[in-house]
Point group: C2
């Protein structure tokens, strides 16, 4: 399997490390020999039809800051490479943009139109256009996968789609953003919103632009992805009614505690799609602390099931990309 890697930041580098360490057993277990034939980062690119030496690439990225310094590296852009390099899979790990989805959107569309399977960890294009991207992939007879967009390494999407086969998920609700959950946990411990935000920043849990997390955009984007994938809804960001945690006051927290509740930023798919601060009973399995994510699925026959895990992390998300790659390999071998 030849792979084009768009983006070589934390997740991309961990994915390369993962391929290095799992090389032998991926072949033994799944008959897979993944070869990375092109990599693009923000400063340049490298193409090698005979596969790139990943250890060397990781060293060059670390010491010289860009994959372009690899032998025969250059400045070709992502779309050029997607269209000109032969490969079975494009792994798109670009930055999330929830306004335009770019440049991920164009890269994903180019790959699909060119008959390449796509794995992405980029919530932007999916939150804005997942229904049409799925349709485009079906039309072009390729597979589009995005496990890493929800739950990091925690297989929330797979759980719903595979483990509850034969049942019908009626609704789900959960905590989809670790940063806001950390802040709310700290507020539950007695900090004000601003104190908790400073604490979260100190611990590296907050993006340069905190709005994405704090105001609910990130949770709403994940909710859109889940609603499309799990509930077969055809929805985008516009269909979510969302509120962040900026206005949660110390009084709100105290009033919840009095009722043995905790305020959590709950994303919910029931009759409608909403994200909002919600009181949850303290002993409900959803009441997880710190940066954890948690989702409860309500099914017609098998009851309520909750899955909990870290929602982020470079290696964790890279492991989700590998899971998608194994699935694409299986789909390809059935064709």
């Amino acid at each position: 399997m030849r792979i084009i890697l768009i983006g070589f930041g934390v997740v991309g580098q961990n994915f390369a490390k993962l391929l290095l360490s799992r090389n032998d057993d991926l072949y033994a277990l799944y008959g897979m020999k993944p070869r990375i034939v092109a990599v693009v980062d923000s400063k340049g690119s490298v193409i090698s039809t005979s596969a790139i030496n990943l250890q060397k690439l990781l060293n060059i990225k670390k010491t010289k800051g860009t994959v372009a310094k690899y032998e025969n590296g250059g400045k070709k852009n992502a779309e050029d490479i997607i269209e000109s390099v032969d490969a079975e899979v494009v792994v798109e790990l670009g930055p999330t943009n929830l306004k335009t989805g770019e440049p991920g959107m164009s890269n994903i569309i180019a790959a699909i139109k060119d008959g390449k399977n796509v794995i992405t960890t980029n919530k932007g294009p999916l939150a804005l256009a997942l229904p049409s991207l799925i349709e485009l992939a079906d039309y072009n007879n390729v597979t589009l996968r995005f496990s890493g967009t929800v739950g990091g390494g925690t297989p929330i999407l797979e759980f719903a789609k595979r483990c509850l086969k034969g049942d019908r998920i009626k609704s789900f609700r959960g905590i989809l953003n670790g940063t806001t959950n950390y802040i709310l946990t700290k507020m539950d411990d007695g900090l004000t919103f601003n104190e908790a935000l400073v604490d979260a920043k100190k611990n590296g849990y907050v993006e340069a632009d905190p709005t994405l997390d704090i105001d609910g955009y990130d949770a709403a984007a994940k909710l859109v992805i889940m609603a499309n994938w799990i509930m077969n809804m055809k929805v985008t960001m516009n269909d979510v009614n969302f509120t962040g945690i900026r206005n949660v006051s110390v009084e709100d927290i105290k009033s919840a505690i009095k009722k043995d509740n905790i305020i959590k930023l709950i994303a919910s798919s029931d009759k409608e799609l909403t994200v909002k601060p919600t009181e949850v009973p303290k002993n409900n399995p959803l009441c997880v602390n710190g940066t954890l994510n948690a989702v409860t699925f309500s099914s017609e026959y098998s009851g309520h099931q909750t899955i909990i895990g870290r929602g982020a992390g470079g290696m964790e998300t890279a492991s989700a990309v590998l899971r998608d790659l194994i699935e694409i390999r299986e789909v390809m071998s059935r064709r």
Copy 2:
């Protein structure tokens, strides 16, 4: 798909109801037309090569107490039927016996040797002989599945096996018995062990013989099944070091609470297999209340993941049987 049903108690009847209500969409979604061609209960049996009318069968069971009263019903025993009736799948829902595994053990072996796929919810045969049963099924080129034995409708086995594909589970630990978790939850609320046991009995959570739950046999049996299926260990009940909750005192509970811990009956697969009362930090995702089950998996790349759900229930367990049936259908169509 022709199915022989061994056992027609709560799970069997719910399975029949499930097939009735899902008939159309099982065909639409999975191309499956399950037909029950023989049913055995403790008082008799019925065989019908043209498929049994499930609604009629449910009514007869309810009003007359046995499937033998269905037209042409009789007294053939399970092994006779397994060997003489043509079918693709035997669903074995017999009573759990952790000493000999019988009569489930003989029925499962007979079915496998006769080239029939097997689904069971019976922990007895699996806890005593899962490694050899798996080997026997492989040798006879049939599929043996047992989702309903662990977690009821909660897909704990599937989660580990499918959702964490590409990763390596290093260890797991969890609460596998709802009855003892209910009792420990009540003790955490201030009851003594005996008071909590009476309360659990009142609520119908305790078997006629409470030993199975209280002394850890049930949790140990489930741990054996998980260790074989998830960790590829070749183990049986003899390999588990287990202690129940009978000797957990009010003082133990109080001392745990002081440290912000809760005592849970934790089954754990790490270097060795153990079941024992263990203090768990109150804010750990495993600390679920009431009859809930919870398992945390620790994986090499994707971190810790916890799955929580009800570990029992007739319809929930029936939904696990249906999941197994869909999987067997998929395996058969790949052959």
